[in-house]
């Protein structure tokens, strides 16, 4: 991956909203790599004629765009694509029905308990989360099923939250849990799954700068189908690691069980790093289809984030620790 993608581009971001503006600004910045971008963008965007797809409110970001999606041949997926093609089995297994079934999902009030092996356990509200500086992070998302998207997330590094609760030296892993409310989430009644959804990261993975808690995308508050009000995004791992609608974050001293590794341990390991060389025992992971494209792309090692995360796994046999 190109080094200069690391660069944070400072912009005044008061006008992040509709997709075309969001993207035109992004492409503009990419094209010119600009210093005084804010003023130019205001001029370039023109009046806000574009009606936003939903009425969710906007989130003020710090104005830092971290584009980790790399090449110029990778386009950010549309809001429509990102919000209408979702795996969220607590609602339904039908990807295109999640949006409808989750539209009345109550995301406020919402509390996330952060506890376990920490010095200062704390219950966070959504406002607490929004008090962290919100950054734009444009990441690839690779689903284990073999499709991928590029998503402009808003959020903040998980490390910032963890620093606030001060993990004890004995903590080695972080365990996450999704809400499992059968009254709101019809899929939870499906007895073939060991609800609630659980996921986990090693502490150093959780502290990596790429790992974020997301509160929004396209400059807007997250919609339920994308894991509102708060979800994890770990871009170098298969999508199912990026747990949605989190209610619990626990610091532990063991490798936590995850929902998928409980269902099929031989197929879904704890690490689940995107890796074209380690096939899922049942299907190949060599290629993927980018949503919106017709052909297939080669899947990249660590989903293209090898430079940032490969060192986390030095000395590990990734075909054993899949």
């Amino acid at each position: 991956m190109n080094k200069n993608l690391y660069k944070s581009v400072p912009v005044k971001s008061s006008e992040i909203t509709p997709e075309h503006q969001y993207l035109s600004r992004r492409q503009f910045l990419k094209a010119f790599g600009i210093a005084s971008a804010g003023a130019l963008i205001a001029a370039a965007c023109g009046p806000d004629k574009n009606v936003s797809p939903t009425d969710t409110s906007n989130i003020d970001s710090t104005g830092t765009i971290n584009d980790f999606s790399s090449n110029s041949n990778e386009k950010v997926n549309t809001f429509e694509e990102i919000t209408n093609y979702n795996n969220f089995y607590e609602f339904t297994m039908d990807k295109s029905s999640v949006a409808t079934l989750s539209k009345d999902f109550q995301t406020s009030p919402w509390e996330v308990e952060v506890y376990g092996l920490v010095e200062k356990s704390k219950v966070f509200s959504i406002d607490d989360f929004l008090n962290f500086d919100q950054e734009d992070r444009i990441y690839r998302m690779r689903c284990v099923e073999g499709w991928s998207m590029v998503i402009p997330w808003l959020g903040f590094p998980l490390s910032k939250l963890l620093k606030e609760v001060a993990p004890r030296s004995t903590a080695t892993h972080v365990r996450f849990e999704t809400l499992a409310d059968p009254d709101q989430m019809p899929g939870v009644k499906n007895g073939f799954y060991p609800w609630p959804y659980q996921e986990g990261l090693r502490l150093d993975e959780a502290m990596n700068d790429l790992t974020i808690l997301s509160t929004g995308l396209y400059g807007k508050v997250l919609l339920p189908q994308n894991g509102a009000p708060i979800r994890l995004v770990v871009p170098w791992k298969y999508g199912f690691k990026s747990i949605k609608s989190i209610v619990k974050i626990e610091l532990v001293d063991y490798e936590p069980d995850t929902l998928w590794s409980t269902i099929a341990p031989r197929e879904y390991g704890f690490y689940a790093n995107v890796n074209p060389d380690v096939d899922h025992p049942r299907w190949s992971q060599r290629t993927e289809r980018r949503i919106g494209e017709s052909g297939r792309r080669d899947t990249l090692m660590f989903n293209g984030y090898a430079e940032e995360v490969a060192e986390l796994y030095t000395g590990m046999d990734l075909s054993v620790n899949y």
């Binding site: 099923e145 073939f192 099929a264 299907w283 190949s284 060599r286 949503i291």
Partner: protein
């Protein structure tokens, strides 16, 4: 007189065959039209290739299940005409399976054989799926009268492979889903449902089971007939 009677039964028979077959044709072509319409009107999710692959796979499974249920329906009810749609149902199962395969190779992988070949023969779910498809192809080709005559007794033996195809298709389906059917966990609802149906359909074919069902049906039927019998039947011509 005899000729006339024969002709009238024959035409009655063809009428009935047509009626049933027309129904099957309508039922079989509707999903194709539906799929095309969804594709053209952009209603096939944002990942239309995956959706089309899954839908055609589902249709193939449904028609194979229907084809496999013809004989059991005949065994249980004694309704003979239904046998006349067995071949059509089987051919539509093959049609959708072929479509499913064509989407996989052509649309999904763009005939990129360096990807398709390993994808087909390295992964267990594609291996069993391919095998099932190959069996259906073989049976579709030999479903014509010419082959039936040519193969004679072997034709029946060959076409018993459809039972194997039924089992392979279920395994293919279950392995393509995220879950573990043997641990009863994950996305296994549909494979489990279709697996149970196909299992029952195969059990009903076991000679002992089949004989027992037919005997029981005849007994019930005769019992009813005997109790109804009051007037002597007219003599045959």
């Amino acid at each position: 007189m005899y000729m006339k009677q024969l002709l009238s039964t024959w035409s009655a028979k063809t009428r009935q065959i047509n009626y049933l077959k027309v129904l099957v044709y309508i039922g079989a072509i509707t999903p194709l039209i539906w799929l095309m319409w969804a594709y053209l009107s952009n209603n096939l999710t944002v990942n239309p290739i995956q959706a089309a692959t899954q839908r055609t796979g589902n249709y193939a499974l449904i028609f194979l299940t229907l084809a496999l249920s013809v004989t059991p329906v005949n065994i249980i009810t004694g309704y003979k005409q239904i046998i006349t749609v067995r071949r059509t149902l089987g051919l539509f199962a093959f049609f959708y399976a072929a479509f499913h395969f064509a989407i996989f190779v052509g649309l999904d992988y763009g005939f990129e054989w360096s990807y398709v070949i390993p994808e087909l023969f390295e992964k267990r779910y594609t291996i069993v799926g391919f095998l099932a498809g190959f069996i259906l192809l073989l049976l579709a080709i030999t479903s014509f009268r010419w082959w039936m005559k040519r193969l004679g007794k072997n034709w029946k033996k060959l076409h018993k492979l459809v039972y194997l195809a039924g089992i392979l298709v279920i395994v293919h389906f279950a392995w393509a889903k995220k879950g573990d059917i043997f641990r009863l966990s994950g996305d296994i609802g549909k494979p489990l449902l279709f697996g149970s149906i196909i299992l029952i359909l195969l059990i009903l074919r076991i000679p002992a089971v089949r004989k027992w069902i037919i005997a029981t049906r005849r007994r019930l039927f005769q019992y009813r007939n005997n109790s109804n019998k009051s007037a002597p039947t007219s003599p045959n011509t």
